[in-house]
Symmetry: C2
Subunit: 579 residues, 2 copies
């Protein structure tokens, strides 16, 4: 074990030079400008004061720079995790209270500790249980909920809830209280942000701006909308016209400190913290792997867990809320040429500086601008094509997507993703509990044996060859018993049963007992049981039991050898009775 | 669909004659005598008045006689379900209150409705998820808890709780209040019951009593202990010496009626009812199948669910509590020659008669007699050999047993069995998420391909053949990516990769995406991807996708054909680039 296993910074730090410094610095400046409006907006989405978003964009970046492995990943507040944070802490504290902000900190700390432990215990594989269809459904549903949750901010009315039914009802209930000045700000901000995203690149190209520069301008464009609406707010005194502004915020960065919290809060946040950790990790690791593949680098999921854990602990200590690696900011970081995690540390310095400089002006910023920023940012999350793809491929995958999507929209983020994971595991268990089994015969002219129903094959009279297409375990142990015994009951001429085990990857104790039952009942009818093509790991396990010692037939390397052995010596020895 | 599918009584009723009537009547008399002390005792174990055990042994037997399929199964109160009932209703009502008794009725009705629905929806396979190791661990732990819970009754002290730590602490706390007269009754009852169970058979044999009759005397022996201690209680006026007696009980049978209950109770009992239903069904179906195998009959799990559901609904309507098919009484029923479910109906009449006659005398019965009956009955449940067997076979199976055993002992029946099922499913998922994969080569002189590490095989230069020993699904999709790409990265001479899919029983959408990634990345390195021995059901699914159309290599019927095809035309066509 090298120290650099735990501190990847020692690895890339040793190779650091002026060239990497320059590219990291440039990337940091661009990402800083892009992060400012996003951080403010996502904090608002989490129900927190906007400056908390800035706090969550400082220390976590430094922590990830020390412990993380991805050279392109940029951590910080992201849309889906912000929504999940709001849903989690909204249950233990009232939005706007001091308890609410400290609950966010507790959530970040819990999530950080969980991620770090998962990394140290090498539990990175847990992320695999969030299948791609489930994640797609979840992200799409979250995007829709987030966009809907911002309608209140765009119209200047109050809304409540973190799932569609509540949100829509509260919008309908308060629709009469629309503030037209807020709507004006929203329309301008939305129009500008959409134009920046859709048209600005072409427009710059027509003026001969280089593609790289144009990309940077497009990515950093939203910060200009922030400045514009801030100026509008100050000049037109929008506050007096009922437009909600961000308002007075404390200047400077919070000191490192632990919040005061009680054990009840911690207990209530354990499950949400676990779900947020896993979702955040899956989002982050897929972003990191995408960029690693482009640079032919490798990402170690367990080290990434530690990196992300450290970032979240830092978020908690720095007065922020749960963070993860975001796709949009990582794209910018990558495109701008960030070559080591140091780019993140430089970004942190940039945001810290901006926090000190910006806070006096933030008071004037209309909340509607931030709502518009969120809506435009999450539009890219909504993608229903997974419904069509999964429907075309298999109803089971479609069911997992549909459960996640509907569950998240109607019942909220935590229930939704839990339903999705639960549904995909149940579908998998159900399928493996109802295995496919085929009677096989020899493909003429080969030593290959295939399903009699699908291929023209030759079978041997008196011998029944059955291929079981599943590992044998408790959930399907009885199925095999039924299948074999009913096949043998249907044909009294059968004297040998060969179980072709090429698809049997494991046999557990329950299944072993079923095999013993099958063996005993076949023995009672004078039928021998043979096994063929038993895999090494399965054979290792069976070798330690009585089963093979008493087996009435043989264990054959291949199905073909089994058939030849039976043909050569069909009545080789009396059947020993199983005890 | 025939009417007799739903009413098995129509099937055996048509064949009913004097001979079957005689054997059924004899069996009924013996089972009735055996059931009386057991029913009283198990009701006490459930925290209910003893007569409730008799009520639960009347109507359920009639309902099972109409809807059930097993000819030997005897339903009624059983030890484990009584303990689970106590644990479940102890949380919603105080023992001894009217609410407690009606909660037991609600539990029986809920369980009955759930079992019936599961049967009609053909969900009998759910029982498979209670693996044999889990059930064994659960029954052993339950036996220990039940025996410990009766220590209070044997010593005449109060105890509380349905898990070991509480029970032991309450015994220790009240140990000073021991009543010596109660202990005297307990010692006599235990000694007699043990003697009946262990020695009576030999003793009768020495007096020349026929084996069949001796068996019947042994089985019905406990009823004499009941009469003996009842007489002792009356003659010695044990009540005045502080011995707890059963006391005044209402005479006659309760009228068919629904209890008054509120929705909160129903909601609180939903999960316990589900667990009780599944455990009861598993216990019942294994007993039924054991006897069916002896008579070469078949048991349809889904019809059994309906039969058991009807029995539980009847238990609720008749003022009882949850019932299931018990092993001990079914053995007696079978040994005594019961030949149709009518034997159960006759037993019901016997118990009903006994209820009317016995209730005046029950007031005198010491509770210690019933505690002794329970302790002797559950001793047979305790069997630690499964720990040794499972340890020898596989650590995973052992873990499932150990989790269930420890969880049940320490945290109670519901948590214990849920932990066991959860652990066995998690272990299965973990294993299948970390699949075994092998590089294979040709076994010389055959067309068979096996693991290069375990067999002397020949490999082909430039071609890497990989056998994946697991279905490909979301939990292991990334694993294959890592395995294939790292193998190829290690050997630049590789131009062809053949995935031998004989053990791949399914490919879900996540895994298809991984295959596409592998295909694209291999393509980037100029390596072709081939598939061989793809099973019919998997091929059907892949055929509907773009994947096969773009595949750079071929899809081959057998691994041998794949190797030959590559040898014949290694550079057959340019690799099409995946889109």
């Amino acid at each position: 074990m090298h120290l650099k296993t735990f501190f990847p910074i020692l690895e890339w730090g040793a190779r650091y030079n002026r060239r990497t410094l320059t590219s990291d610095l440039i990337a940091a400046v661009i990402v800083t400008i892009m992060l400012i409006p996003q951080s403010l907006a996502y904090a608002l989405l989490a129900g927190l004061p906007p400056e908390v978003g800035l706090y969550a964009s400082v220390l976590p970046l430094v922590a990830y720079a020390i412990f993380g492995t991805s050279t392109a990943l940029a951590v910080g507040p992201v849309a889906v995790i912000s929504l999940m944070t709001a849903a989690a802490i909204g249950r233990v504290a009232v939005e706007g209270s001091a308890d609410y902000a400290s609950a966010a900190i507790v959530l970040a700390l819990l999530s950080g500790v969980m991620l770090t432990l998962m990394g140290l215990l090498r539990l990175g594989f847990i992320a695999n249980f969030l299948s791609h269809p489930v994640i797609s459904g979840f992200i799409t549903a979250s995007g829709l909920i987030i966009a809907t949750s911002q309608v209140g901010g765009l119209l200047g009315i109050r809304t409540e809830g973190h799932a569609m039914p509540e949100l829509i009802m509260s919008i309908v209930a308060n629709i009469g209280a629309i503030n037209m000045d807020t709507v004006a700000v929203s329309v301008v901000a939305l129009a500008l942000l959409l134009w920046i995203r859709l048209d600005l690149r072409n427009w710059l190209a027509r003026f001969g701006v280089a593609k790289g520069l144009a990309n940077i301008i497009v990515r950093t464009g939203p910060v200009f909308v922030v400045f514009l609406t801030m100026a509008w707010s100050g000049l037109a005194n929008l506050s007096s016209k009922g437009v909600a502004l961000v308002g007075e915020v404390p200047q400077g960065l919070p000191l490192l400190s632990l919040p005061s919290f009680n054990l009840d809060t911690v207990q209530a946040l354990l499950v949400p913290a676990l779900i947020i950790s896993v979702v955040g990790f899956v989002e982050s690791i897929s972003v990191a792997q995408t960029f690693a593949a482009k640079r032919r680098e490798r990402i170690d999921p367990n080290r990434e867990l530690v990196g992300l854990g450290a970032a979240n602990i830092a978020a908690g200590l720095g007065g922020g809320y749960p963070v993860t690696g975001g796709f949009a900011r990582s794209v910018v970081n990558f495109d701008a040429g960030a070559s080591t995690p140091a780019a993140g540390a430089f970004t942190a310095i940039g945001i810290a500086g901006a926090t000190l400089l910006l806070t006096p002006f933030l008071a004037l910023l209309p909340k509607a601008t931030l709502a518009a920023t969120i809506v435009i940012a999450v539009l890219t999350l909504v993608d229903f094509s997974i419904l069509k793809r999964s429907w075309a491929y298999s109803r089971a995958d479609f069911a997992a997507v549909a459960f996640t999507l509907a569950g998240t929209l109607l019942l909220g983020v935590e229930v939704g993703i839990s339903l999705g994971v639960g549904a995909s595991i149940l579908i998998f268990l159900y399928r493996s509990s109802q295995p496919h089994a085929a009677i096989v015969g020899q493909v003429p002219g080969t030593e290959h044996y295939r399903n009699v129903k699908r291929h023209k094959v030759e079978t041997q009279p008196g011998t029944l060859s059955i291929r079981v297409d599943e590992s044998l375990y408790f959930a399907n142990a009885r199925y095999l018993e039924d299948f074999v015994l009913s096949q043998v009951a249907a044909d009294p001429s059968i004297k040998h049963v060969v179980l072709l085990c090429s698809a049997v990857n494991a046999i557990d104790l329950s299944a072993l007992e079923s095999l013993e039952t099958i063996h005993r009942q076949l023995g009672d009818q004078g039928v021998r049981l043979h096994l063929s093509e038993v895999k090494g790991p399965v054979m290792d396990r069976l070798a330690g039991t009585d089963f093979l010692a008493h087996l009435s037939g043989g264990v054959h390397l291949s199905q073909h050898q089994a058939i030849r052995a039976i043909a050569d010596a069909p009545e080789a020895a009396p059947i020993p009775r199983a005890v």
